[in-house]
């Protein structure tokens, strides 16, 4: 009988949070690319995701994957109204930093940098943690609210709304921060518990 769970004793693991690209290896066997059913392919939404083990693993429950992905794309990429793309990525990065998801933080810290041009501020979030001063009131408020929303039991409260409003956010922008931060409590748990990050071979051999 084939083992269901895979371990990687020799993996090149990241040593800390980073904005550099990481790979991700699954602990359960993904659906093989050439064995994806039509329903599973449809659930990937973007055909290129058939190359990615994470999405082919989630394809084991296609209805859940499809709904997850469409939720994700709307929260992060629907730019009609609401807060800017950079702040949504910042909420994702801050949530991931607080929960401890090195993989998610790398993807969304890099995206926050790309959308804002503020590489150094984003790096400070990764290096110093969620208490770091990111240089302006809006970013600090988005990080603080995202961190508060990640805590269990739920403790996000009126003071967090006051902080966001004090930074000038309206309700539509606040709802985007809540959506982006809440979504990464979903994504972090999948990424952290179904596999792990890996430093790509090219960089691993150079260190």
């Amino acid at each position: 009988m084939t083992e269901i769970v895979t371990e990687y004793p020799e993996l090149a693991r990241p040593e800390a949070f980073t904005q550099e690209g990481l790979g991700w290896v699954p602990w359960l066997l993904p659906v093989a690319e050439d064995e994806l059913t039509d329903a599973q392919r449809d659930a990937l939404i973007e055909p290129a995701r058939a190359k990615m083990p994470y999405f082919r693993l989630l394809a084991r429950d296609p209805d859940a994957l499809r709904a997850r992905t469409l939720t994700d794309l709307d929260i992060f990429f629907n730019v009609s109204g609401g807060i800017g793309r950079a702040e949504r990525e910042l909420a994702a990065a801050a949530t991931s930093r607080h929960n401890g998801c090195v993989f998610c933080a790398s993807v969304h810290a890099a995206a926050a940098t790309r959308e804002s041009g503020r590489q150094a501020d984003v790096q400070r979030l990764l290096d110093e943690g969620v208490e770091a001063d990111l240089g302006d009131e809006t970013w600090n408020a988005v990080v603080a609210a995202s961190v508060a929303l990640a805590d269990t039991p739920l403790d996000f409260g009126p003071d967090d709304i006051v902080g966001l409003r004090g930074a000038g956010l309206d309700d539509a922008e606040i709802v985007d921060v809540i959506g982006g931060a809440a979504f990464f409590n979903w994504a972090n748990r999948l990424m952290l518990s179904l596999g792990e990050p890996e430093v790509p071979a090219r960089r691993a051999s150079a260190r």
């Binding site: 949070f17 602990w27 209805d63 929960n99 739920l154 403790d155 748990r189």
Partner: protein
């Protein structure tokens, strides 16, 4: 699913059609619709397969109670009560015993070890495990890990599920369920707090989240 269900996030947030925040949510209509579809896929699937509805609702009650979200605990408690009433009290008592504060956990990354923190790592006692049965004992143990210390997840945790009879497909669905609930409860809670901060109560003295929630829930 032949009967259309109410939007569960609106229900848990205490948002009624016509409320200001309902209009704000409409701006992300695809996210709203697919959060609902996620609920349907994970908690009301047409074909639950070997991951039974009773197990799904038991996990949802456990997660809701660990989050301290009374309205969600009541909502999922009703679903569990209808499906498997004999499990209700054992799952609720397990959640009370399993109370913890997260996120916490040890980091495996060498340069993050200084940020490692400790907390309650829970597993059911013998009597609870017997009442839950092997599959649910393993599922709730894993759920507690995912809710409070996801950064401590390791392949061994998945092996414990396999050893208790969970298939790879069902482990993915269980992981999605816990992760999705971590999202759903936060969106609903956040909207609830935002609504309270926008209503008449907002002009009163500063109130804690609990009283803000209580003020809104009178309308549910």
């Amino acid at each position: 699913m032949s009967t259309p269900t109410a939007d569960i996030i609106d229900l848990l947030a205490g948002i009624a059609p016509g409320d200001a925040l309902a209009a704000v949510r409409d701006q992300r209509a695809q996210a709203r619709e697919n959060a609902q579809r996620s609920f349907e896929a994970l908690l009301e699937p047409a074909e639950p397969g070997t991951f039974s509805l009773a197990e799904r609702y038991a996990v949802a009650v456990f997660v809701s109670k660990l989050h301290g979200f009374a309205e969600a605990s009541a909502f999922y408690g009703d679903l569990l009560g209808d499906e498997a009433a004999d499990l209700s009290s054992v799952v609720e008592d397990a959640a009370t015993a399993a109370a913890a504060a997260g996120p916490f956990g040890a980091y495996r990354e060498p340069r993050l070890e200084g940020e490692s923190t400790d907390g309650v790592r829970w597993a059911p006692d013998a009597a609870t495990a017997e009442a839950l049965g092997g599959r649910l004992t393993a599922a709730l143990t894993h759920t507690h890990l995912l809710v409070f210390r996801p950064r401590e997840a390791r392949p061994e945790a998945l092996q414990a599920l396999v050893d208790a009879g969970w298939s790879a497909d069902d482990i993915v669905s269980l992981s999605q369920l816990v992760a999705f609930l971590s999202f759903q409860l936060r969106v609903a809670w956040g909207l609830r707090v935002l609504a309270a901060a926008s209503g008449p109560a907002a002009s009163g003295p500063a109130s804690g989240a609990a009283s803000a929630v209580a003020a809104v829930s009178e309308g549910v």
